[in-house]
Symmetry: C2
Subunit: 463 residues, 2 copies
């Protein structure tokens, strides 16, 4: 419904240091880091810089789904930059070899942050923007990076809008059951608990048919391309189904979107209707998964192992994002030991312990995760010395309760969006927007304007 012309981003490449933390490593040179830039709204030389700290995907995906940032730039006359995270999209330090061992070793949060710090510093010089306050933006893992930029580089970044950033749970400070419990409550929210029972029944059916090895019935009910032949395949099917509900909960926007795949408007409601509409429970479950995996209706059968990729992130890898790189991050610094237990959630019991993670990661990437490292590096909840951060979260989003939900001080502000899914506030304005997100964006906009003003004073004082 927003018919304003979109800004024309220019796609550029920045010669970036490959290894910021080792002067004698194999990464003894530069790689081409992609970024998108538009100065269409910029008050040249004095307007602020809005810098999106790219996360686990092609940077265009985020630029095209974060219209709030450009709308705000138009209001506040800002330069806009979307920077691509190393090892994603076209920003591959070693090209085709980037995911070999040891080349993949330069994929860390710290390297990514240093990339952004160096890029901001140099681009400011090149663009005659040394007096321009920089505000960072990010959604999800990108929001975590925005927080970290403000913690780590307050010399460079005046403030951060971190939308739906689960900074606590990914630092090992959450409960393993939280995530799928929250997916369940979003889905159940739909029509009393009808869907919960339906899904529960369907699942029980699944478990029931497995031992009898009635794999043919499962294949036909789920239109699988291959007949399952072992419990491993059934486990994979369970993962795929759980992932479908996860994505619909995360992306439960009030209008259709093309972000991490394609979603209809209000996908959770569509899922409910689908579940209730089918006579055969397994079949209804298949159609519900199809909302996510077969939005075009083009697939004639489901291939369990291409539609869903099991990895070190139990909330799912793949689906338009670079699953290899994210898997590696989940195997090293980012902790995501979420489990479903079928008690506090509606999903099958699918444990994912630190030990399982260690075994998987050691085998897959030759690495041992380091629990506690992210908390040590990025402060966990010991944020009392930080300032100028907005933590926004949507109540519909299963990631929300892994983040900061209460303001910690007058400049560490939590904004909770009652009708919001995963970083809805970063999306462009839409007629279907609920009141809560409109209000949140207004608060964000006012706060950011204030930060810019304060920073300008500091820069003038030369403090």
């Amino acid at each position: 419904s927003n018919t304003d012309p979109k800004p024309q981003f220019k796609e550029k490449y920045f010669p970036q240091i490959m290894d910021h933390f080792n002067f004698n490593s194999m990464g003894n040179g530069t790689y081409e880091q992609r970024y998108l830039i538009t100065d269409e709204y910029w008050k040249k030389g004095s307007g602020p810089i809005f810098f999106y700290t790219g996360n686990e995907g092609d940077i265009w995906e985020f630029a095209l789904n974060s219209g709030f940032i450009t709308e705000l730039a138009a209001q506040q006359r800002a330069l806009v930059i979307f920077a691509e995270h190393r090892y994603y999209g076209k920003s591959l330090p070693f090209g085709q070899d980037s995911f070999n061992i040891p080349e993949v070793g330069l994929l860390t949060v710290e390297q990514a942050l240093a990339d952004y710090a160096i890029m901001i510093t140099e681009l400011k010089q090149q663009l005659g923007a040394s007096a321009c306050p920089v505000i960072v933006f990010g959604g999800s893992y990108g929001g975590m990076l925005s927080v970290y930029m403000r913690l780590r580089y307050p010399n460079i970044v005046a403030g951060a809008l971190a939308a739906s950033a689960p900074i606590l749970s990914t630092a090992g400070m959450g409960e393993s059951k939280q995530f799928f419990q929250d997916v369940t409550s979003v889905v159940c929210h739909c029509k009393s608990t009808v869907i919960f029972h339906h899904y529960s029944n369907a699942r029980r059916l699944l478990l029931h048919v497995c031992p009898t090895s009635d794999y043919g019935r499962i294949q036909s009910a789920f239109s699988l391309c291959k007949t399952p032949s072992s419990y491993k395949d059934i486990h994979q099917l369970n993962g795929l189904l759980r992932n479908a509900f996860t994505l619909m909960a995360m992306l439960d926007y009030p209008y259709s979107t093309h972000f991490m795949g394609s979603m209809p408007a209000n996908p959770v409601k569509v899922a409910c209707d689908t579940m209730l509409g089918g006579a055969d429970l397994l079949h209804a479950l298949k159609d519900t998964a199809g909302i996510v995996y077969n939005s075009t209706g083009d697939l004639t059968c489901f291939d369990l192992y291409t539609l869903y990729v099991e990895c070190a992130d139990p909330t799912g890898c793949g689906l338009g994002f670079n699953s290899l790189a994210w898997d590696y991050q989940a195997c090293t610094e980012i902790e995501m030991c979420y489990e479903s237990n079928n008690v506090s959630d509606m999903f099958p019991l699918m444990p994912f312990t630190e030990k399982q993670r260690e075994q998987y990661c050691s085998k897959r990437w030759g690495v041992i995760p380091r629990p506690g490292w992210l908390k040590t590096q990025f402060w966990g909840d010991a944020l009392s010395t930080a300032s100028n951060i907005i933590f926004s979260n949507g109540d519909l989003d299963p990631w929300a309760n892994g983040g900061v939900r209460k303001s910690l001080s007058s400049s560490l502000i939590a904004i909770n969006i009652s009708e919001g899914a995963h970083h809805l506030d970063l999306r462009e304005a839409n007629d279907a927007d609920p009141a809560s997100v409109i209000k949140a964006r207004k608060m964000e906009s006012d706060t950011i304007a204030q930060w810019v003003k304060m920073e300008r004073k500091c820069l003038q004082r030369g403090f």
Copy 2:
């Protein structure tokens, strides 16, 4: 003069992650990091932890020359830990091979800070000290590390006493002539400018004799073990002489010390007397250098290339410290492009440009320094968001003006010690102490007690 019994440090080793920033590097394991610890004064489980962030040398050297910290620990019932910096002393990640390429690549400021963060976190757990506020201490480069610990890990460190920490000049924010200008003014301070003229004359003589290749005369005047045979040797002699004055200025303590070699009480005064006492200028200059290089009088001749090692730090490498490791650090992150120019200082023209540094470092270590990196990483002078740091500096110390000399806020406190040399305040109390250092230590002690109290409140509030 201080006759209190010294604390008995226990020497221990901590199994430390070799590479904090690459999960797939060659450093895929742990090394033994040395630390010294005493709980002699500690109020177990609740007293604060005083943690010395070890710098470029054997950790015993710092523990034995930082008596203020243990004296303060006795007052404030603190646990004391002196941690050794990786690649120094006995904390060699790759043993004998540590200075090979690429093994040396794990020697960075960031790795050292991460070592300390991990060590503090784990030792607190092991010692039942999770409720104990941590204060970091350091002198010189160790003081820089203390500042960085508070900037980088305020979740772990409640405050920092940074004594004589040149955080600005080493981040490329100083003037290249500052250092030797300040050495000169300390030396000149002695007896009007007599010594300046003497030295100037002597130097002119040197320059004068060089072209005529009167190398025999220089050898005999300076008791050199070998006859100089080229300008390179004369250049080395100039470096050695400049270094002697540098060390006497830095270590101009009011009593004799054994730190970075042996010094008499008031070495600058001794140097003056020596310069003025000799009839032959060159000979007097040799005796002056002997205060530093031949304190025992045992040397029968001076070997130019063992007494002084030219390296990427123009203020000198070697002399009891690990010159290899420090050279590498000066070739990578730490910027020290100090020069003497014979206009604003009394030394021969000895330029050291960024280009020279690059050539040397590339040849010696296969690295290209990255000017600006330290400023990006550790904020340069953009410290407005920081808190709880004392920057102490002695007016006699040529390093002082590379640091923070004015308080930046009520919790970023500069303390200037008018009669102090290089981190005199960290040394144990001595009857010869000037009033200014006694006053400084009192302020430091009060401020630290306040930080500990504040942090205790925060921990109780669970913020």
